[in-house]
Assembly symmetry: C2
Homo-oligomer: 97 residues x 2
């Protein structure tokens, strides 16, 4: 398992619709090969800041299987306009339990 990690900064004027749109968008990612689970959480210290965590079986499931898919274009159209700046997405590998 690897963990996709992105801190999302949402444009204040679009914050109201972000959570609703994400609820729709998450059905896209949840259906992809190698998807395990995801969570979206809201920062308690800073407004308009969210944390997206997605567990994938392999990094290729995310970077190739998802990002090169037609479904990614739909995901992008639904979500990318909410972000400012565009998030830095990185991957983490569990090392300690």
């Amino acid at each position: 398992m690897i963990l996709e990690h992105a801190v999302l900064h949402i444009k204040p004027e679009e914050a109201d619709t972000f959570e609703k749109t994400f609820q729709k968008a998450q059905t896209i990612i949840s259906a992809m090969k190698g998807y395990i689970r995801h969570s979206v959480s809201k920062c308690m210290e800073e407004d308009y800041k969210y944390l997206l965590l997605v567990e994938w079986e392999t990094i290729e499931d995310h970077e190739i299987g998802f990002r090169k898919s037609p479904e990614y274009q739909e995901w992008k159209a639904l979500l990318h306009h909410f972000y400012d700046p565009f998030p830095i997405v990185q991957h983490y590998q569990p090392v300690l339990i």
Copy 2:
């Protein structure tokens, strides 16, 4: 449940002992009131970078129960010298499943 989130930048010269020391330190946090679970993961794109996630029942369990405890002094002594810069710790509340 709330999620404590910290990206940890480890001093390169101390990287070898960080994971081993964390394995010892995690027994401290795991025994605290309100602790649910934690994970430590290693960044795949950047050296010496880790992600610490801790689930707590409430933010007070972390900020008061843990941080004001004698156990925190032990945690601090074991781990804080590994970090450069000192991490920004924030809390996130799940909003979407």
